[in-house]
């Protein structure tokens, strides 16, 4: 599931009639006028409805068309600005991508990568999962961001029903996670073109 700002990377050419990404059909796209409109509640709703991961896409940080939307949603997800995301939401399954309009190919490659990570994480545990003292994914090294929190979970099969324990991450963790993701953002910026042609769709 992907919640995408209309003003950030231009996905219109990449979608099929049902709002799926043609290159990565597992990714479903909901468009917003601005990423700032996304409520943390909506992210929770997506997980409740069976999503295994949520991609949030906004303009480049510092360059929101509507001035501050991307910053706001980022801070809300990181927990620095109310309303925040529930603590029970697995932070490894939420990722922020800050892309400008011409960067659709970058989005696709990142989405693929994220999909692989989330698939590895397996399905989301049902709500009442107790916050167990899960082994925290260590703060990530800069270069390879998303695939970081690898398999402290056995990759279980299907999305909906399995009860594989996806422990909720404890408090301090959410701050660490998406931040390091966004940080390395500019690093990989330059190479989208090359990436995209090479990969056939999955």
């Amino acid at each position: 599931m992907s919640l995408v700002c209309e003003r950030s990377c231009d996905l219109n050419a990449q979608l099929d009639s049902q709002g799926r990404l043609t290159a990565v059909p597992e990714v479903q796209v909901v468009k917003f006028p601005c990423s700032g409109m996304i409520q943390p509640l909506m992210v929770e709703a997506a997980f409740k409805a069976g999503a295994t991961g949520v991609i949030i896409t906004g303009c480049q940080l510092g360059d929101c068309y509507y001035r501050e939307g991307n910053r706001m949603i980022r801070e809300r997800l990181l927990g620095g600005r109310p309303p925040g995301l529930k603590k029970t939401v697995d932070r490894r399954r939420v990722i922020g991508l800050w892309l400008s309009r011409p960067q659709a190919s970058r989005f696709i490659s990142e989405a693929k990568e994220f999909l692989a990570v989330v698939t590895e994480l397996g399905p989301v545990a049902p709500e009442p999962a107790k916050p167990t003292p899960a082994p925290k994914p260590a703060p990530q090294p800069k270069s390879e961001a998303k695939s970081e929190p690898e398999n402290n979970k056995a990759p279980a099969g299907e999305a909906k029903s399995s009860k594989a324990t996806a422990p909720a991450d404890p408090g301090p963790e959410p701050a660490a996670q998406p931040k390091s993701e966004t940080k390395d953002e500019p690093k990989t910026e330059s190479k989208p073109e090359a990436k995209e042609e090479g990969k056939p769709e999955s």
């Binding site: 700032g36 409109m37 109310p82 953002e185």
Partner: protein, 378 residues
């Protein structure tokens, strides 16, 4: 949007810049703060110049040696420690301010961020630009070399050509009917007074924006300052010959950032000149109306859900939400209200609301949630 192709190029350029600078230090993202920084530089360097500047043409009451605007500028440049540096900074920071303002303007135009709910910013920006150009010109009168004399005379004849109010404006400008000591005092007042009037204009420029970006990160400031100092070192300022009221100098060097109107005046009738200037300003003012796009649909408060927590008002980037006292029968103290003419329809307030109490009319959050669920079920 007709600027879309340019914008895509621009965004690519900025993405590359991000690779080098990271988005936090990308100067493109501080385009509005750059002229603001130069304004502070101008205020501070101008303070020193103001301390030693003497706004007269001659010293009729002192017979010892000639003390006037030109000699005081000379004194600042050659005698005061670092005077020449401050003078250079003041001159080139002015040029840099015009350049950064034009870049700022170009960027908001390219990225389509100047219309509709941003109209006040655009219009006040046009006024500020005109003010900055005029203030810069008055700076050139103050040094009182031959160029100043030519510029003053050209201004007088151009003002004279305006029907009805022209003569009055000229008297106002010269502070009398001809060039006297009072004239330079008036120039100094215009130069400094209008500079501070810029602050009022800037207040209007910023007032509809929550948390305007006024200061770039210090690193960018240092670079901007270093750029100025380099230019000062490479091209030190030299005054021309002292103005002599009895002479008729007729060539002058044009600083294209500020003195282009005078370059125009040399080759056209004053009447046509004023019409061109007027047309230019009017054109800038109406640019936002060339593009017809769909109206913004302002956010709407769902009255029965609003708890008056004011999160949306805090997060709104355009000061479009005001908290008002809630009606008497309400359980809460405050109620959010939207000022539709300020609203951009971006929905940040929707994201800020944990109570489903504010909606974009074309995209209620219940619909979005339903859409998310439907997509996932399919």
């Amino acid at each position: 949007m007709y600027t879309e192709p340019i914008n895509n190029l621009n965004l690519k350029l900025e993405a590359w810049t991000n690779v080098i600078t990271t988005s936090k230090y990308n100067p493109f993202y501080y385009h509005g703060a750059l002229p603001q920084f130069y304004l502070w530089v101008l205020y501070l360097s101008g303070l020193l110049l103001f301390a030693y500047y003497i706004p007269t043409i001659d010293n009729a009451y002192s017979s010892e040696k000639l003390i006037n605007a030109w000699t005081s500028v000379n004194y600042i440049t050659n005698t005061i420690p670092f005077g020449a540096v401050f003078r250079g900074i003041h001159r080139y920071a002015g040029d840099a301010m015009v350049v950064t303002i034009l870049l700022h303007m170009l960027r908001v135009w390219i990225t389509d961020r100047y219309r509709q709910y941003r109209i006040v910013q655009w219009l006040s920006g046009v006024v500020l630009l005109v003010m900055v150009l005029f203030i810069g010109q008055t700076g050139y009168y103050l040094v009182w070399d031959e160029r100043s004399l030519i510029l003053t005379r050209m201004t007088c004849s151009a003002l004279d050509a305006i029907p009805l109010v022209g003569t009055g404006l000229k008297t106002w400008f010269l502070n009398g009917t001809e060039l006297t000591n009072y004239t330079l005092a008036n120039f100094l007042f215009i130069h400094i007074g209008l500079s501070f009037a810029l602050l009022f204009g800037l207040w209007i420029h910023y007032v509809r924006m929550t948390r305007p970006v006024l200061t770039p990160p210090p690193v960018i400031n240092y670079i901007l300052m270093a750029a100025i100092l380099l230019v000062v070192a490479w091209f030190p300022i030299e005054s021309g010959k002292m103005a002599d009221l009895t002479s008729q100098p007729n060539t002058f060097e044009v600083d294209w950032f500020f003195l282009f109107p005078y370059a125009m005046l040399t080759s056209m009738q004053p009447g046509i000149f004023w019409l061109t200037m007027l047309a230019g300003v009017v054109l800038l003012c109406v640019v936002p109306y060339f593009v017809r796009t769909k109206e913004v649909e302002p956010a709407e408060v769902v009255l029965k859900n609003c708890t008056g927590c004011s999160l949306c008002a805090k997060d709104c980037p355009y000061q479009a939400i005001e908290m008002v006292p809630a009606p008497a029968e309400s359980r809460f103290k405050l109620l959010a209200t939207v000022k539709p003419y300020r609203c951009s329809g971006c929905g940040v307030c929707v994201g800020a609301c944990a109570f489903d109490a504010i909606d974009l009319p074309n995209m209620p959050d219940a619909d979005v949630t339903a859409q998310i669920k439907a997509l996932l079920q399919s």
